[in-house]
């Protein structure tokens, strides 16, 4: 019997009992919908991490200071993560080939009669690239989806070179509004501004920026700032050693844990950190990789996912037994039909195939409806999980396979029972 004919036979069997069929599929529908929602939760958590930590490459380790909160004020847990810590890291940790450091502060910038007080950032030469990767800001009016380049982030001039950062050159790049306010439309490139009473040559102006997130736009002021090489900022703008953020790039992505050990050893030595009574190091810093963040986020999603997965399993089993039941009834009702088919030459495998396929179609139909319900349920799942749920396209074939497998597993027994009927008895059945 050709497949098309088996399919036609199975379809007509299903169509004969629409109401019963629909009720039977309910379990499969709920089960498959839960599968879709479960996978959407995991996917949502992953996407959220991808979004908020885009600046952190998978070959990078973020080194940050540990803080405790005392009287509402953050205080370093031990020694500050210093510029020196970062500078000495590549030599001390063989797996680290480069570090990028960032320092944030606030300072006075003066040109002529105008003095402005604003936050600034001490950065590395690669800061523009990091800003693009981070994806939080974009030039005003940048078409969505267009690829950003470092050039697009500059209104005038250029950004820092590696040698300027290494040498602590007295240069700066101004934010769009800062340049406007200080120079009132004149070209600032090559001019000197005074930052905390130290002269600094303006080499570039950043393009007018806006946050990508529209709700952030009223609060954030990305254009009222200026940038210095991190070395220059550390030397000139702070009375005490400032704390820095360090991003270390690892030479071999497969050896992230080893690299973390090397960084930790270096910092523990420099900070004089000891082991506590329980043998744990009393670190005053934290090492974070993309994988770590992903793990934390996924832990949160996991609890809810486990619940949904349990619901999926229970519904699928219930749905499976429903299918088994409906197929057993169908086999009994059609005993005589089976006898006739056997009399005209249907082999046992033909009968098995017919009823298996019927069960599979039943569960597949339930699966398709379940996928639809699951997709519609994603916003609901998101509301229970901090808004983190996103349809994983791969979950659709997975859900269909799960439905199919349920139908075949639970359809096997009724199908075998049909095939083992004695044709003589079956023909006599009333």
């Amino acid at each position: 019997m050709t497949f098309v004919n088996v399919l036609r036979t199975a379809l007509s069997g299903i169509a004969a009992n629409k109401l019963r069929t629909g009720l039977t599929m309910l379990g499969i529908i709920i089960g498959v919908a839960s599968v879709i929602a479960t996978l959407a939760l995991g996917n949502g958590a992953r996407a959220a991490v991808e979004n908020s930590f885009r600046f952190l490459g998978s070959d990078q380790i973020q080194v940050s200071g540990q803080f405790t909160v005392e009287d509402g004020e953050p205080k370093p847990a031990g020694k500050l993560l210093s510029y020196e810590d970062g500078l000495t890291l590549p030599d001390a940790a063989p797996l680290i080939d480069r570090v990028e450091m960032t320092v944030r502060g606030s300072g006075k910038v003066r040109h002529g009669q105008t003095t402005l007080d604003m936050p600034f950032t001490g950065v590395d030469a690669g800061a523009l690239t990091s800003m693009i990767a981070d994806g939080k800001v974009q030039p005003v009016g940048w078409p969505a989806g267009d690829l950003l380049t470092s050039e697009a982030f500059l209104a005038r001039g250029r950004f820092f070179t590696h040698s300027e950062v290494a040498a602590g050159a007295q240069v700066c790049v101004l934010g769009y509004k800062t340049a406007d306010d200080l120079f009132l439309g004149d070209d600032p490139i090559g001019q000197t501004v005074w930052i905390n009473r130290k002269p600094c040559e303006v080499i570039g102006v950043i393009a007018e920026l806006e946050t990508v997130d529209e709700q952030e736009r009223t609060r954030s002021k990305p254009n009222e700032t200026f940038y210095l090489p991190v070395s220059t900022a550390v030397q000139n703008l702070f009375e005490n050693d400032p704390w820095v953020e360090i991003t270390a790039r690892v030479t071999d992505e497969a050896r992230m844990d080893e690299a973390k050990t090397q960084i930790a050893a270096h910092l523990r030595l420099r900070h004089g950190i000891e082991q506590g009574n329980d043998g744990k190091w009393l670190d005053d810093f934290r090492l974070t990789t993309k994988k770590d963040i992903l793990g934390v986020q996924q832990d949160a999603a996991r609890t809810f996912s486990v619940l949904l997965a349990a619901l999926a399993v229970v519904s699928l089993v219930v749905g499976g037994f429903g299918i088994m039941n409906v197929m057993l009834v169908s086999v009994t009702e059609r005993t005589r039909e089976i006898g006739v088919r056997m009399a005209v030459g249907a082999r046992q495998q033909d009968v098995v195939l017919q009823f298996l396929l019927e069960a599979a179609l039943l569960s597949l139909a339930g699966g398709l409806v379940g996928i639809l319900v699951g997709i519609l349920a994603i916003p609901l799942a998101a509301s229970l999980n901090a808004g983190l749920a996103l349809l994983d396209p791969a979950s659709i074939p997975v859900a269909l396979l799960v439905a199919l497998a349920t139908g075949i597993i639970f359809g096997l027994y009724p199908a075998l029972r049909a095939a083992r009927l004695d044709p003589i008895e079956a023909l006599r059945y009333e």
Binding site: A343, D350, I424
Partner: protein, 246 residues
């Protein structure tokens, strides 16, 4: 009777059923020969063993002992799958209750045996095909539906091809069933009380159709307890207590 080429030859065919603790001897060694092109009636009261005989001859069951040669091939010891193939290719069944599938059209009912044939292959049944005069239609290139329509035309129901069994009269249903038995060009047609559920006039029509098929060279075995029906066959075999009467 054509003794050179018997379609059916049984030797000491025996069948025992187990019923609870007791063994019931349904067939006590039957020797039967039916030649190609014969139209035979098999008569006997209930319990005579004629139903058991028909099940064995139809390859729906296997004998406890003895041999059953169909077209010279021993089919008594075949596996369930091989028996299914024999039923499919060499035997056509006609039942008292028609046994059409209610959800299929007349045409699809008739085509059913051919659908089960498609996957198994057609020309590999070892036995030699007997040329059936008018039955030797060109069957090689035709699709199952074309062959089914030809069979329906033969029984005079081409215009009812799209009807479902519930839309047909009893006589028409039995004609569809006969077309289904014919469509595979079988060596043997087994008819079990084919007129039992029909009024006498319709039953007469069906018997005339069977006689026509016989005239076309087909081999028919008619199982009945109705003497009037049996008389329309070429000759009658009688069974009693699991034995063939001489």
């Amino acid at each position: 009777m054509n003794d050179q080429n018997p379609v059916i030859e049984t030797q000491n065919l025996t069948k025992t059923y187990r019923m609870g603790a007791a063994d019931v001897l349904a067939l006590r060694g039957v020797d039967m020969r039916i030649g190609a092109g014969d139209f035979v009636a098999l008569m006997g009261s209930s319990g005579s063993g004629k139903s058991t005989m028909m099940h064995l001859l139809g390859c729906l069951d296997t004998p406890t002992a003895g041999r059953y040669l169909l077209e010279g091939r021993d089919v008594g010891s075949l596996s369930a799958q091989e028996r299914a193939r024999v039923r499919n290719q060499r035997i056509g069944f006609i039942f008292q209750t028609f046994n059409l599938l209610p959800r299929l059209t007349a045409l699809d009912n008739v085509a059913l045996p051919l659908l089960y044939r498609a996957a198994g292959g057609q020309g590999d049944n070892g036995t030699s095909r007997i040329d059936h005069g008018a039955g030797s239609r060109a069957t090689g290139k035709q699709s199952p539906r074309e062959r089914a329509l030809a069979a329906l035309t033969r029984v005079g129901l081409a215009d009812r091809a799209g009807h479902r069994p519930t839309q047909l009269s009893g006589g028409q249903r039995q004609r569809v069933a006969i077309a289904r038995a014919l469509v595979g060009d079988p060596a043997l047609i087994l008819a079990d009380e084919p007129t039992g559920n029909l009024d006498s006039s319709t039953g007469g029509d069906i018997m005339r159709l069977l006689a026509e098929l016989h005239a076309e060279g087909r081999t028919l075995l008619l199982v009945t307890h109705d003497r009037a029906v049996a008389e329309q066959a070429e000759y009658t075999l009688h069974m009693r207590d699991g034995r063939l009467l001489p």
